[in-house]
């Protein structure tokens, strides 16, 4: 988009009915590194590409735990994302304190969206330059939402945001119809493959990506590097384009062992039948 005379502040409409500042904020999301989310009936998986500025620095944290049952992955201005995560954590904790019950995700995203909308209608504010993939559980099951700087929010079966997210989205579009019935492992595998798509040829290693899971009986947590690397190794043995539902021994036997367990899925995933790969 090009500079024009209607884009100076957020409270100016263009003759075509657009708010350019809001659209520019959405551009900021597209420039951030990719974040991907997918959900089944009982689980939500969030994954993101973690690019450090240089070899000397650490990665930016892009996935935040909001509550035991909600997590968020961000793309765009991470500072804005942190601030919104703090708001979300606050809302969750206040709700829990008053009602001794977890805040339904659907309500949290509406509050978040209304907060973003305010910034699109005040001359002394600017829109948040961050897109949020909110994944969480409530009474009606697992949900994945995308919150936009514009104040819009949508529920998704699977989605990707950030730079080169189109490649991930294309992969997800092919596979999403089966997600509802996917097992936890299949879902994580699909998330990793989608992340690999966004890397556009670069090798997928656990040092460049972060994966987090939340599910029924499983509080939101970020998987540690070792676990992620093991999962990556399992499916990279197979050809690039093969669907993860292939009858490979490693995939199959993970399912019963991992069902519903929390922190030690790392150990369980180390199936004895995987040919040790030279790393």
């Amino acid at each position: 988009m090009f500079r024009n005379q209607y884009d100076t502040d957020v409270t100016t409409w263009s003759p075509a009915g657009r708010l350019f500042q809001v659209e520019y904020a959405m551009e900021a999301v597209k420039q951030g590194s990719a974040a991907i989310g997918l959900r089944s009936k009982t689980h939500v998986v969030l994954a993101c590409v973690n690019k450090a500025n240089s070899e000397l620095s650490s990665h930016q944290k892009k996935i935040f735990k909001v509550d035991d049952h909600i997590g968020v992955a961000i793309a765009g201005l991470t500072a804005d994302g942190r601030v919104l995560s703090r708001y979300m954590r606050n809302e969750c904790i206040n709700y829990s304190y008053t009602y001794e019950s977890p805040l339904p995700v659907g309500r949290l995203v509406v509050q978040l969206a209304d907060k973003a909308q305010v910034c699109t209608q005040r001359s002394w504010k600017r829109p948040y330059g961050v897109g949020l993939l909110v994944g969480g559980l409530d009474e009606s099951g697992a949900h994945l939402y995308y919150n936009c700087p514009s104040g819009n929010y949508f529920e998704y079966q699977a989605f990707a945001i950030g730079s080169r997210s189109q490649a991930a989205k294309t992969y997800l579009e092919r596979k999403f119809e089966n997600f509802m019935g996917s097992s936890r492992e299949e879902l994580i595998k699909d998330a990793l493959i989608a992340t690999r798509e966004s890397l556009q040829g670069e090798k997928l290693r656990s040092s460049v990506c972060t994966v987090a899971v939340v599910g029924v009986g499983e509080p939101f947590h970020i998987l540690d590097q070792e676990t992620v690397q093991k999962l990556i190794d399992e499916f990279e043995i197979v050809r690039e384009d093969e669907p993860p539902a292939e009858p490979q021994p490693p995939a199959e036997q993970d399912a019963p062992a991992d069902q519903g367990t929390g922190a030690d899925q790392g150990a369980a995933a180390a199936s004895p039948d995987v040919a040790p790969m030279d790393i």
Binding site: Y97, T98, Y99, E100, S101, G106, R107, V110, S140
Partner: protein, 233 residues
């Protein structure tokens, strides 16, 4: 002009009060009972006050203590349920949530030395889970299989401790409640013989029309009540 000082703006004592409420969990949900009297000190002034009210789809509230404070609480809960319904999103506040909300209200008022002078019983069923809890005017709250307020704690709970068991049928539950209410009728001077029972199940809440308990006053112990007491006349 001088304006009223903060001192005189807090609750000091109750005026129109309701007596005990008793409740228990049974097979399909919760059963709750209370009489319909409102006492003005020692006068049994109001004889038809409903002290058991359904809250939203999943809960039932019973209150003893100051009736005007109970009405105030009903207004708070009305607003709470209204906003909950306005989300229109398939989520709804269950009995646990309402109970905790009430606990917060009661405790916060107590901290300001301006309590809502009530003992509340909150029962309900949601997604097959039965819930029964109590909150007092100072914010003490707990859950149990059977609860009571006021004198009910001393007269009804012992009966319930002996005779309550898991999976009571509706008839058994009502019988047990009637037994408790009868004892309260005999022994609590602020009780009136017009009882209401209400139940809440997964399907919803029902508040039954008031009825009277049959009483028997010909017990020999009633005839000469002080015959065994020393120093009495």
């Amino acid at each position: 002009m001088d304006h009223p000082s903060a001192e005189t703006q807090r609750t000091l004592y109750p005026y129109v009060t309701g007596s005990s409420v008793v409740a228990l969990k049974y097979k399909d949900g919760i059963l709750m009972a209370a009489d319909t009297g409102g006492s003005y000190g020692s006068t049994l002034r109001y004889k038809s006050i409903e002290r058991l009210k359904p809250i939203g789809k999943h809960s039932l509230l019973g209150a003893s203590g100051e009736i005007s404070d109970f009405q105030e609480i009903l207004r708070y809960l009305d607003e709470l349920i209204l906003y909950d319904n306005m989300w229109d999103d398939g989520n709804s506040l269950g009995p646990k949530e309402v109970h905790n909300y009430l606990t917060r209200i009661m405790y916060n008022r107590r901290n300001k030395f301006n309590p809502l002078w009530n003992s509340l019983i909150l029962g309900g069923v949601k997604n097959g889970q039965k819930y029964l809890g109590m909150v007092s005017m100072i914010g003490v709250n707990f859950e149990d299989n059977h609860v009571a307020t006021g004198l009910g704690n001393h007269l009804a709970r012992p009966i319930l401790r002996d005779e309550w068991h898991e999976n009571l049928t509706f008839e058994e539950g009502v019988q047990l409640l009637e037994k408790c209410m009868r004892v309260l009728l005999y022994r609590d001077r602020s009780a009136v013989n017009k009882i209401q029972i209400s139940k809440i199940t997964e399907e919803g809440a029902t508040v039954f029309p008031p009825f009277s308990l049959k009483t028997y006053w010909e017990f020999s112990a009633f005839k000469n009540p002080t015959i065994g007491a020393e120093g009495s006349w």
